[in-house]
Symmetry: C2
Subunit: 437 residues, 2 copies
Amino acid sequence: MKLLLKNAGILAFKDGRFDPIPEGFLGIDGDTIDYIGANRPQAPYDREKDMRGKLLIPGIVNCHCHAAMTLLRGIGSDLPLDRWLFEAVFPVEDRLKPEDIMAGNALAMLEMLASGVTAFSDMYFEPRTLIEQNEQAGMKVNLTRVVQAFDPDEPPEKNFRIAESLALFDEFHGCQNGRVRVDFGVHAEYTTNDAVTRRYADLIRPYREKGARVQLHLSETRKEHEECVQRHGLTPAAWFERMGIFDLPAAAAHCVWCTHDDLDILKAHDVCPIHNPTSNLKLGSGFAPVPEMLEKGLRVALGTDGAASNNNLNMFEEMHIAAIGMNGYLMDPVLMPPSAILRMATVNGAHLQGRDDTGCLTVGKKADIAAVDMDRPHLYPAFQPMPMLVYSAQASDVVMTMVDGKILYENGEYLTIEREKVMFDAKQAVKRLYGGR
Amino acid sequence: MKLLLKNAGILAFKDGRFDPIPEGFLGIDGDTIDYIGANRPQAPYDREKDMRGKLLIPGIVNCHCHAAMTLLRGIGSDLPLDRWLFEAVFPVEDRLKPEDIMAGNALAMLEMLASGVTAFSDMYFEPRTLIEQNEQAGMKVNLTRVVQAFDPDEPPEKNFRIAESLALFDEFHGCQNGRVRVDFGVHAEYTTNDAVTRRYADLIRPYREKGARVQLHLSETRKEHEECVQRHGLTPAAWFERMGIFDLPAAAAHCVWCTHDDLDILKAHDVCPIHNPTSNLKLGSGFAPVPEMLEKGLRVALGTDGAASNNNLNMFEEMHIAAIGMNGYLMDPVLMPPSAILRMATVNGAHLQGRDDTGCLTVGKKADIAAVDMDRPHLYPAFQPMPMLVYSAQASDVVMTMVDGKILYENGEYLTIEREKVMFDAKQAVKRLYGGR
């Protein structure tokens, strides 16, 4: 099936940069973009869809998410960080069953699809649930069974998570026509030990050739960063490097407290930092050194983190706060250009996920596309699409989300997910988890 | 006419604090709230409106705005502050005619009404245009003809703005059944001189008994703050105090660089600071010391500033960024409780405007109300309404906005403004101002 999106603004990408077309045509052949231009293509299309007044943008990539934590949205918002985790979050997580996680995952997918997210990276319990659900939902998901070892003396041979992590990759990596990618994962330095981590690194190293990648948390809080230095005489980044984890390309969430040397380590190993500004600010963790990362050529991506510390999965808010937060913190109004922010949320995110066949609107790339309705009072006038998207637009301005050429969301309707059932299931899960509320 | 809003969540306000009712009834008699409770009132109502699944909140007050600058949305986003003002903003403002300002005002009202704003304070050219437009629109507006004197030697008797400012008050203050309030105004310390300001203070002092108030910009940027100290040996706050301007209650926009002593001055004179986090961060001005202001008992309000430096008029974004920005900057996750943020956007804003008859949902207050649709994936679960509103909600979740008991906006429709005409007029104005674009 060949589909032509016509009369739309197009945030095209050409020669390594955004190259907007005020009004034009975007052709799709199956799952792939086969035409972009201001003029109507010569070739015939089976179907045409009038997108007048809309701006087509690359599907947004949420690179750090704990999707099922939507069910923990806003809990313990009035507690300091440690008490929030131990008194609010962990007791609920202890009660989570696979059906709860599925309910939370589906709620997250509703929210992300409605806001233009086509792909996300997830790190949570029971990743098989999400694979199963995504069969129908049709998004692109990178997920992982992270390795943890809470006992510093736990030997690798007793760590069942290592085997589960490898098995998950072997069974599912690349399934659903490549829409599911399995990453390897280490939760964080402070939740594992040397022996387990070294052994895991040795086991996953051969998977590099299969395109395997790693997810982890890195230097999110000052406490975590400094305790690692006390424990190992190494920063978390240096420690992961020594363990051999960075022998695979990795996605490092947060990096708030990374030092200058840490950033050089990340650069040397093609580790992509994921900036999660809302979560980092809300939890009082601080500001990641994004301008320095960009200066060093690191391909920074963006994420929402889980809804428990955000408290939503709104990548338009992340773009906005990534832009103005850093400007304000370093007192420089032109520090974070809108094009750099958009690149983080799209091209860089796709690269971090190992999906360089998507992330931008270019002929030959997969048709992962969101459409923004420009006929909104708060978007007029919009002299340039990039500042409009980063500073003025809201998630709710998205009116269509398409993955691999297939529309998954349009004008409030979900085409692959039953909204009412998801909301019902979420309510049942909340009853199970919290009692009468 | 008596109207009963039924089956709604209600963010009521009782004994000086928010007191949410999960599901209840809110009765309105004419323009005034006459009942709030979990149970159906005994008294009869002429009309009932089912608000199941909605949360009623106080109308939001945008305390610092240059409404017509919607027509300058996003211009010069890539320029540093001085060049942004001199190369992008000022040349367009030079070309503004009253019909352009009306077009921009109307566009701003569309955006604000759709996001639950019932009242705003405006500081811009040609304030009579906004008074005229608001006759039909029906919002609550505090506006001002600010005094400026760019020549340091300009004598007061030559400053035509002083007379205009006084005349505006005499002619319009309290009109439209009190919905229009005229404030006095001094643009900023750096745009006036001692003689003009002293004379203006002397002239407006007698208006204190008539409930007059003052709008001004205060210590927005470090440069402005430090140059004032060099010029006068006084901070802007101390200088305004010495000039006598603070003899009236005042609303001071920004206050980013206010010192500890400055905040004591504001406190001593019932000057309310207006926090504009998006604009301050985007322009690289820095973080206002909001926690210290609150600790000193200052009644901080919130504002968007103009769309040229924001680039929208979204008070939900302001609430969100006010909350998490300060948490992140001072690295304390419980620094800015959601209830304090909501108070800034409602109760404190109403107080700052001289509208203590509104700003909260309490029997006897004016029925200035917004309804938030809770049936949205990103708002579920919502265990507590306050964190939900501040961290999860978006402006687009507002489905009804009511001023003085009259619905002005509901489910995408404007009841007092012709949306299509406003969009058309805005496009005409943009053509006039920018040529072919």
